[in-house]
Amino acid sequence: MNGDTLDPTLSSIPPEAERVLAQNINQQKKYKRKLIISFIVLGILMITTLIVIGLDFKFMAKWLPFILAGGGYTILVSILAISLACILSVIGALGRLSKNPVINSIATAYVSLIRGTPLLVQIYMWYLALPQIGLALEGLGLTGIQSLFTLHAIPAGILALGVCYGAYMTETVRAGIQSIKIGQTEAAKALGMTSGQTMKRVIFPQAMRVIIPPVSNEFIAMVKDSAMVSLMGVWEMTYRAMKVGRRHFQSLEMLVMVAMIYWMMCIVLQYFQEKIEEHMARGDRRM
């Protein structure tokens, strides 16, 4: 190694190729700049539209803190519901892949029923139908059971969202498990692992990589669907926006504002989703 070849990049790349590389980098820079300009223009267009349609910005600013205070419920309901959905989806996926006809049919029926009915209807069901079941059971002699079945708004909302998203995510988890090649199972068997051990130590850790990005996608969707618990009188963001809007007969202002708040929340979540995706894809890139 003498002084001429100290910088390996300079010596190993021919000058023609270097020019092409520089051009590529230049193009990428230009593209990025244009992209940023487009976004800024879009943003300006949006703000102008809002001004042109004559929104009462003073009114919006005045109520912003009150609406934001509902964000705590939005986050609480979403986080608890996605946790429930994760548990249900793993159980559901194992059920869907199970060779036991009873377990398999229960899991299949769960996915089919929940995916086949609107979330709005399900929320009313959890809130209205459960106390009726409780009443019927009480009629059969189980005194005091109705109060256990009479869910308040927040737990009813968490159950409704969790059970609904659990059904969708069951299919995600099942697909993730099935995406692992049969050779992995065979290798585990050859090592003398039981099927439970195979699932826990070989299949599932690999499947997680496939499953987690779509799950964070579901979480973003759920943050917005949590608005539906406002029907039952939970004072989350949508509820507050609707009530204030109706009080002053200025619903549009409030709806635009609450839409913006949800959007900002989702931009933050999207950022984390991208990070998680990068993290999960590391294994692939190394190969």
């Binding site: 109060s147 039952m232 507050r240 109706r246 009080r247 002053h248 007969f249």
Partner: protein, 283 residues
């Protein structure tokens, strides 16, 4: 944030406590007096009956009446705000004890709910956009697009299908061209405010709600005018869950409280404060 989570933790513990209670076989009144709190549902969509004030707290005629009722019973009041359809459906399953939400005791609602004696009387009013030059009387509304809140007595009235005991109702002898129903009154008032005939030609709501919209709504007063005299007056009562056993004691107690609020002029005072007029009928 800390405060939000604190109150959430409180709600969650309250839930656990709630699910643990209710095993006693006493009357509903006993249960409420033992809990020292009455849970009242109200629909915060209607100013000036029940709405969120500038601090984001519940306020209004119904809210004040509820607070006064609790005061006279010597207990605390707690408000819940479920959707209107969930209130009128009945079968509340002890989630709340009482509805003070400007409800009219219709025949259908009596299947699911129990009603007290009326605490005020609400005039039902037509209104049109103030730019309209062609609609002069209520009769001119024949064939027009009229906005009304769904599952309300106003909707039933326009469908000529409203029965309220002890209340004489004369239906209009014309038919609306298109009866457009909305989730709540504020929605059709905003829709009519967009412009005359744009989506609606007229709305039908309570006189108080329309007066409030004209006074303070839409930023600087909604561009509406009232049309003609009120079509009818409806009695407004508290509602109780019919499916809850042993509710009679609470009903009797509430009727006594309402009577005492009539007798000392409290109701008239509250009506004048929130409605700017006396809507309390003579007993």
């Amino acid at each position: 944030m800390k405060k939000v989570f604190g109150s959430l933790a409180l709600t969650l513990t309250a839930l656990l406590v709630f699910t643990g209670t209710g095993f006693a076989g006493g009357t509903v009144l006993d249960e409420i007096m033992a809990a020292k709190t009455i849970v009242v549902s109200t629909d915060a969509n209607y100013a000036p009956q029940s709405f969120l004030n500038d601090k984001g707290e519940l306020e209004g005629f119904d809210v004040s009446v509820a607070k006064e009722v609790a005061k006279r019973m010597g207990i605390k009041v707690k408000f819940v705000t479920p959707d209107w359809d969930l209130i009128t459906a009945g079968k509340w399953g002890k989630r709340w004890d009482l509805s003070i939400g400007s409800m009219t005791p219709t025949k259908e609602r009596k299947n699911a709910l129990l009603f007290t004696t009326p605490y005020y009387s609400s005039p039902a009013q037509f209104a049109i956009h103030k730019d309209n030059k062609t609609i002069k009387t209520i009769k001119d509304l024949a064939g027009k697009k009229i906005g009304v809140a769904s599952e309300t007595t106003n909707e039933r009235y326009l469908q000529k299908d409203l029965v309220i005991e002890d209340t004489k109702i004369t239906f209009q002898n014309w038919k609306a061209g298109n009866l457009k129903t909305y989730p709540t009154d504020a929605n059709h008032i905003e829709d009519l405010s967009l412009g005359d005939g744009l989506r609606l030609d007229a709305v039908f709501s309570s006189r108080q709600t329309i007066a409030e919209a004209i006074r303070t709504g839409c930023g600087k007063g909604c561009p509406l005018t009232m049309l003609g005299e009120p079509a009818y007056f409806e009695p407004i009562c508290f509602a109780l869950d019919k499916s809850r056993a042993n509710s009679d004691s609470l009903l009797t107690k509430l009727n006594e409280v309402i009577k005492s609020m009539y007798d000392d002029g409290t109701l008239v005072k509250l009506s004048e404060k929130y409605y700017g007029t006396n809507l309390i009928p003579k007993l």
